[in-house]
């Protein structure tokens, strides 16, 4: 269980993280969602005591810096290519293993686990972004942690790699462990995450199950096709629904669910050719939820310096 309370970080005049509090529970994949520049990476660095700011993050009750061998409990990937370009992949992991008194055998195990066994003796200078992500993930898995914190881990992965990552994280969380993974790719989060922490402009916008987020920020619509659309339209409006007419004659109804529309039609003897619910995508929910934050940013000409990379 991760508990972040009152995280706040300023870079000069810009407040990158503004009083962020949330919880990350074990057993599910928690997505950390927000547009670029929303403060996701800064938040993660604050959580790990890398950046100095206000607030505190507790991992099962302890601050990160209080954990004696953090790699054994929390695995992290913050940047895709945080390696010395000529230190061999295996040596990079051996170095981190030494830092947390982990057995050397783990190095080859994790390299195999992420599919880098063939380049164990390779130097990261020649690695693709995807290979860099895998090496970062290998480092995160080194201490067999119960918690993973990953910043945009899907960046640079090919479709197979993303599929693999998704399955891996689901399996990892399925075993009762904790996953906190950031992304600005909404489609990716929809497939990967069970819970969401949504931020915009450094502030918390929403937290909870993915389905709840979609429900809260969009109204489900009902698509109706009927030969008697002209009669149905005013009836729907009278019942309090908002109706929009598509060029092909179909009606888009908001404010009434499909059963209600069907019953209304039936009560007036109107035949329906199609009646379906259109659930808004996570994409739409996200755009609506973060629209305010983005507008604010576009309107205020403050220097939007990113955190030091």
């Amino acid at each position: 269980m991760i508990t972040a309370a009152g995280l706040r970080k300023r870079f000069g005049a810009k407040t990158a993280v503004d009083g962020l509090s949330f919880e990350v529970r074990p057993g599910v994949v928690t997505g950390f969602l927000g547009p670029n520049g929303a403060g996701k990476s800064t938040t993660m660095r604050l959580m790990l005591d890398l950046d100095r700011g206000e607030g505190s993050t507790r991992f099962d009750g302890r601050r990160y810096r209080e954990i004696r061998h953090p790699l054994r409990e929390i695995g992290t990937v913050l940047e895709a290519k945080a390696f010395h370009p000529t230190r061999r992949a295996r040596d990079h992991l051996r170095m981190l293993a030494a830092a947390n008194a982990l057995p050397r055998t783990r190095v080859d195990e994790v390299l195999g686990q992420v599919g880098l066994a063939d380049v164990a003796r390779g130097r990261p200078r020649g690695f693709s972004l995807g290979m860099g992500q895998r090496l970062g993930l290998a480092a995160a898995l080194l201490g067999e942690p119960h918690t993973l914190i990953l910043d945009e881990p899907a960046n640079g992965l090919d479709p197979q790699g993303i599929q693999w990552l998704r399955d891996f994280l689901k399996g990892f969380a399925g075993g009762g462990r904790t996953v906190f993974v950031s992304s600005h790719l909404l489609a990716e989060m929809a497939l990967m995450a069970d819970e969401l922490v949504v931020v915009g402009n450094g502030r918390l916008i929403d937290a909870g199950p993915v389905s709840g987020f979609v429900g809260r920020f969009t109204t489900a619509q009902v698509l109706v096709r009927s030969p008697a659309a002209d009669r149905l339209d005013p009836l729907l409006r009278q019942s309090g629904a908002q109706v929009e007419r598509l060029p092909d004659g179909a009606l888009i109804v908001a404010g009434r669910d499909a059963p209600a529309v069907g019953e209304l039609a039936s009560a007036h003897g109107i035949a329906l050719h199609e009646l379906s619910t259109r659930t808004a995508s996570l994409e739409q929910a996200f755009l609506e939820a973060t629209a305010g934050a983005q507008e604010f940013r576009a309107a205020a000409p403050v220097p939007t310096r990113e955190g030091p990379r």
Partner: protein
């Protein structure tokens, strides 16, 4: 702490630059030993002083000795690589107690610097033996004291490199400063102090830290210099003072700054 030391030791051994830098320092010092050895093959051309110069690569007379440069750069890179390649964050997620990490880095680079000095003396001794046919004396005259000073001097340079880089987090800037100050600024001040109108510089010149550092490795008894210059131990304290002056704010800032 032992975990951090082990980390730092593996870190140092798994970059190629470490081997290049140590190798260059040993080779260049051995070449100086070769030159001195060949020049002092006849017994009458020899003094205890020449033994000391041969063993320490004439460090006393060089404003920026080879061992100091290369140990300094090893110190610079021990911190600089972490910032240049962004590994400081993975490193700190493994070792989140920052003071422990710095202490380990400083301990390892200082030890490597000291060992470099010892190894270089051993190699130069061998070169002296081969060129002259008899072993250079390690204890004659002020040689023993110069060798002790040499080991401390090279270790301090490694600490200086690491500390300065921790302070400014810019490898190029630090290397430029570590070349310009001893090679240009200090000799310039020394030269200017000889101008009558600027003779008020003279007492200051005694305390110029890099010059003081080199006097730690003086191969004659420094008290022979009279009141003009500081003695060996006092010189060592001046140079160590410079290192401390850099390290203390670097340490404090590292604790407080974003990684």
């Amino acid at each position: 702490m032992s975990d951090a030391l082990r980390f730092e030791w593996v870190r140092l051994r798994t970059v190629r630059s470490t081997y290049w830098l140590l190798g260059m320092a040993l080779l260049l010092n051995a070449l100086i030993a070769l030159a001195i050895g060949l020049a002092t093959r006849s017994e009458e051309s020899r003094a205890f002083e020449s033994d000391g110069l041969l063993l320490t690569g004439a460090t006393q007379f060089v404003p920026l000795p080879f061992a100091a440069v290369f140990a300094g750069i090893i110190g610079v890179l021990s911190v600089g690589h972490e910032y240049r390649h962004g590994t400081i964050r993975p490193t700190l997620t493994a070792l989140p107690r920052r003071s422990v990490l710095i202490a380990a880095k400083l301990a390892v680079v200082a030890a490597v610097g000291a060992l470099l000095a010892v190894a270089s003396v051993a190699l130069n001794w061998l070169v002296g033996l081969l060129t002259r046919g008899e072993p250079p004396s390690l204890t004659g005259g002020a040689t023993a004291a110069a060798l002790v000073g040499y080991v401390a001097f090279v270790a301090l340079w490694a600490l200086l490199g690491a500390g300065a880089t921790l302070l400014v987090r810019n490898v190029i800037g630090v290397i430029v400063a570590l070349l310009v100050l001893p090679l240009i600024v200090e000799p310039l001040l020394s030269a200017l102090s000889n101008v009558p109108a600027l003779d008020w510089l003279t007492p200051i010149v005694r305390y110029l830290p890099f010059g003081a550092g080199s006097r730690m490795v003086a191969t004659v008894d420094v008290s022979d210099f009279g009141g003009e210059q500081l003695g060996r131990v006092a010189s060592g304290l001046v140079f160590a003072g410079l290192v401390a002056l850099v390290l203390v704010p670097a340490w404090v800032l590292f604790e407080r700054r974003d990684a």
